[in-house]
Symmetry: C2
């Protein structure tokens, strides 16, 4: 591999001058610049990133730590990050914490030790104090996606869970439903809390309150939808609609409903949240609240980029909107009555 010295010899200039044309700072005469460019091309020179990073203290690597890289949701976040940083010439290093504090700690320290310029974080539990200290000392800017579990975050991007949930609930209400069940996600997770407030807001708007509906909490997982659905049906059958806090929950619920011989939306209306890939292939296709994880990732990356160039100083904050996707899993309530 050709080094900067090889180039400087070939072009008959000092290494300093070569460095100036490669990095683009400082004065270089037109003649020398051309000679150096020729030498670079002839030798196929590409600067050694490690040496450059070591000396200049900038690696041009962005770190991303998410809960689970194998999941479509987080993969999309990563995709958004990647797309945003590529034009800036940054590379991406990824790691997962798997909702485990120790693994998360290791993943973050890994990013610090690899001299990442900045870190995008999606954590599900508070950052360990020793890790906070390490990040602070390293003076590496951090932006969080979702709930901010890092006291050092200089930016944050979150989904507008409140508005999304309100939209979902309003939709059910507008279709005439009053006897509703809300299958909430894990209340430990910030998202679920905000969504519950959104549900309440929609209810309040038409003079109802949270106590007028049934709320059940569980994990963002299909099993919760299935089990909750079964338990519910054993107990009562008078509800006409379910708001599932996540599309995976809705998927499990569909199963339970199907086993009980109930049809969506004729007997029970269902609305989901996420617009996951499978939503439109469920039968009937699921009406749901769309969120775009790649936008979350992209905005977080852009915040970080702004922090790095110094064009922003933070703390930054942005809320990403959702939209209602109407498919065929919600029916008007009077229609449901007629069928029954």
């Amino acid at each position: 591999m050709a080094t900067i010295s090889d180039v400087s010899k070939r072009a008959g200039v000092s290494r300093s001058t070569v460095s100036r044309v490669v990095s683009g700072n400082g004065y270089v005469s037109e003649a020398n610049r051309r000679a150096i460019e020729v030498a670079i091309a002839e030798l196929g020179y590409r600067p050694n990133t490690l040496a450059r990073a070591l000396r200049s203290n900038r690696s041009n690597v962005i770190g991303a730590v998410v809960v689970d890289i194998g999941t479509p949701y987080f993969a999309n976040i990563i995709f958004g990050v990647q797309r945003a940083i590529r034009p800036a010439g940054k590379s991406l290093m990824v790691s997962s914490g798997y909702a485990d504090q120790d693994q998360e700690a290791r993943a973050i320290v890994e990013m610090v030790d690899r001299s990442c310029d900045g870190i995008v974080l999606y954590l599900e539990r508070p950052m360990r104090a020793d890790v906070v200290e390490i990040v602070r000392q390293a003076k590496i800017p951090v932006v969080s996606i979702g709930h901010d579990h890092c006291p050092l975050s200089r930016g944050r991007v979150a989904l507008d869970n409140f508005e999304g949930a309100r939209m979902a609930m309003r939709h059910l209400l507008e279709q005439g439903h009053r006897n509703i069940v809300y299958l909430s996600g894990d209340p430990e997770i910030g998202d679920a809390k905000d969504r519950l407030k959104g549900v309440e807001a929609a209810l309040t708007e038409i003079g109802m309150s949270l106590s007028d509906i049934e709320v059940q909490a569980g994990l963002f997982h299909e099993d919760f939808g299935y089990e909750a659905g079964r338990a519910l049906l054993r107990r009562r059958r008078d509800f006409t609609a379910v708001f599932a806090g996540a599309d995976v929950i809705a998927a499990g619920l569909y199963l339970a409903l199907g086993e009980a011989g109930l049809r969506v939306p004729d007997d029970i209306s269902v609305i989901g949240f996420d617009d996951a890939y499978h939503a439109k292939f469920m039968s009937p296709p699921l009406t749901t609240i769309r969120q775009q994880p790649d936008v979350l990732g992209g905005q977080a990356a852009n915040q970080l980029l702004g922090l790095l160039t110094g064009s922003e100083t933070g703390p930054l904050q942005s809320l990403v909107g959702t939209s209602l996707v109407v498919r065929s899993s919600v029916a008007m309530r009077h229609l449901a009555k007629e069928v029954a």
Copy 2:
């Protein structure tokens, strides 16, 4: 940040000795070792990865280039890679090529320039010659997943597409189906070719041939399933089963079948390939051939690790198996007849 010099001063030894205990090679007296460990703990010293990599020419970073990191399939591959390399203390850098030769080229060169120790590659088209040259010069070991598009690969792991497709086809045949349509994936992609051979093999086993069924080629995308399904139904209705070359194709097909008022599996049996996340939530749940992308990624990473430690010299080769997941989308043929 504490450096190795700080540690050496504090422990009253030379930097060389500290380096020996940190890296674990060379002789160090028990007394010094302990003193150094104490100093390291007190200072909170963590070696500078960049400096270490620059000098030793090993970065402990593995690069992974896949077609599209945002896709569940590739995200799972990445997950598998990550899981396999973590115990070895390696970090992961990822990039996507998006089936574009130039972007793939850039992604690979990025990995080389970042001094990755090795690269896991999932390419969909041949590697550009200049990139091959760059990788060759850098002497970085490469292993490929799927079709091997890199002449330098020292390892390869592929899915047993042949056996998987044969299994799928056999299943339809065993259920009595003879009038079958195969919705193949893009024949440009190696996977599809192998699957077609598997289909043929299953047919041959019972004395039929490829010409006895209808084969249509398209993209691995739901739209293909939908469009192909509609076109097919306009033309003929005598087939009793469809083998969809991918679960996404099956999903699109379900839509077309539903619109035509046909029911799965009573009117038409459908079998898929992949066992994608949504397969079990389709209605009826899709019978399909399961493949585990994370296993592909994991095996590729392990090959790479073996190559790096020198315990393997390559070229390595491994074939990952599939399994039949029976759900409810395939019925016995006589049963279908009765309903009709």
